[in-house]
Symmetry: C2
Subunit: 317 residues, 2 copies
Amino acid sequence: MSSNLGQNLSQNLRQFDRLKQFVMPSASMLNLDRQVASGAGMSQAGSQSIKSAVMVIGGGEDKVQDRKILRAFVENSGGESARIAIIPSASREPEEIGRIYNQIFTELGAASVEVLDIRERTTQQDLTELEAKVNNLTGVFMTGGDQLRLCALIGETPLMIAIRDRVHQGRMVLAGTSAGAAAMGHHMIAGGSTGDPPHKEMVNMSTGLGILPDVIVDQHFHNRNRMVRLMTAIASYPDKLGVGIDEDTVAIFEQDHILRVMGRGTVTIVDPGEVSYSNQVWVSSTAPLTIHNLRVHILSAGGKYHLLKRTPLSPSI
Amino acid sequence: MSSNLGQNLSQNLRQFDRLKQFVMPSASMLNLDRQVASGAGMSQAGSQSIKSAVMVIGGGEDKVQDRKILRAFVENSGGESARIAIIPSASREPEEIGRIYNQIFTELGAASVEVLDIRERTTQQDLTELEAKVNNLTGVFMTGGDQLRLCALIGETPLMIAIRDRVHQGRMVLAGTSAGAAAMGHHMIAGGSTGDPPHKEMVNMSTGLGILPDVIVDQHFHNRNRMVRLMTAIASYPDKLGVGIDEDTVAIFEQDHILRVMGRGTVTIVDPGEVSYSNQVWVSSTAPLTIHNLRVHILSAGGKYHLLKRTPLSPSI
């Protein structure tokens, strides 16, 4: 059983690497695998009712009033039949933050909520024990904290690969807020600074969870003046798309390659697809950058962006 | 004499309004009027040696070490034959700041330096007295302080119109730093805030000096995280060009419609020419903005931007 699982995980990993070559595999995978799942006649109860998506929340989401974003997560996960797990591993206080979200999702009517308080990297042996549990989940929520800590604990573990696989098959909703949002890309902004002319040293990159491999996410975006650090990051990865998400705001990566915006703030897209010149490969880490022809879109609630066409959709569409 | 002067100023003003209709009149005026001046056989000594330009400095320019930017201002103004006036009126301590720049420009070898410590709006009568002095200048430097104070004291006064006229004729170099830079446009950012999703209330607009009527300038740009307030400003004036200038950095608006960058930081161009949608006319002053298709260029020292073609020039050109 354990070796079969290992083989399956290995196959999944190879499949994932293959799929990563798509322009925007996160969305295309959702779409592709939805058809696969539909054709295969999914057996898990509730799988038909979930609205598969990756919900990338900019931190500071409303937890006490309308709780619009957290409510949308529960609804996308199946509402009354949602079976949710919280991964609080980014936080230094995982019990406390796990308890808070547990209470919220329970109040919002999820069928079951549990905390996966992961404090060591899971092994395949652990996953064998967790497999039934993971297969039964319809939603996973990653809390804030430190994205480096989160990725150190769960990045590329058998558990994470199993979750990512289910997300890409459209069988699970994955949400992350703050650090949990930052970790969504393959290339991840681990930290940085503001208040200076753009230069390479102002952003520290690391490896994320690869849920949205062609996106570089930044969060608490305009709230912490991070436009320039995202532009600086994207200058080094001109094949990626920069997505900066404000507090109490979510970028929902849905099927059909559409990114949809919900919440109080904005989602900023920094598209380097037309960049005609950058000095970033030539200059020192403290020298000011030159970047020609970045395209920027600022989207607010209701806004949509086509991830394959790389174009915002006009509000009438 | 006084009425002739008034008539001339009135003619100048009408000519200026006509010229303002050009796409980028600041540069085209410099060019056009250079030819006019050349054809007319300019009589003022030193006029042939000045390099006509508008120098827009992002504040915090080096005053004690290389003084590269201030040195360039003196050199553009004619070097050893430069006759410079300092307008310290943006500052609440005009004597002190006037004294500092006086000493610097003197040390840098200007033939003459004086402070025009204007504390009341000049009248045409005042200008009659100042006319010979203004006609003799090759460079004017506007200090930092408060751009609203500066414009309240000198905006659209006969003195300012006379200076602007000489600048547009290519007979004088005009430099401004910080508040003196902010005031260069016709539409001026008077103040604002950062650290929030973009919304109209985060930027306060007022009327500037109209030296570069098609540009909205922001200064201390990345140093004070002002990218979003410039984008917010430009959303309301989609026919203008946003120019954000870092500290110890200058955007030099030269003849031939070229903006050239010098200094330690960057000059950021925010071009709304392709904006396909914005909600700014529909939403309240506190609602988050939507703006599709802003084009952004970040330029560092040596970088050039063609103001008419609205395109950065590649470093090899």
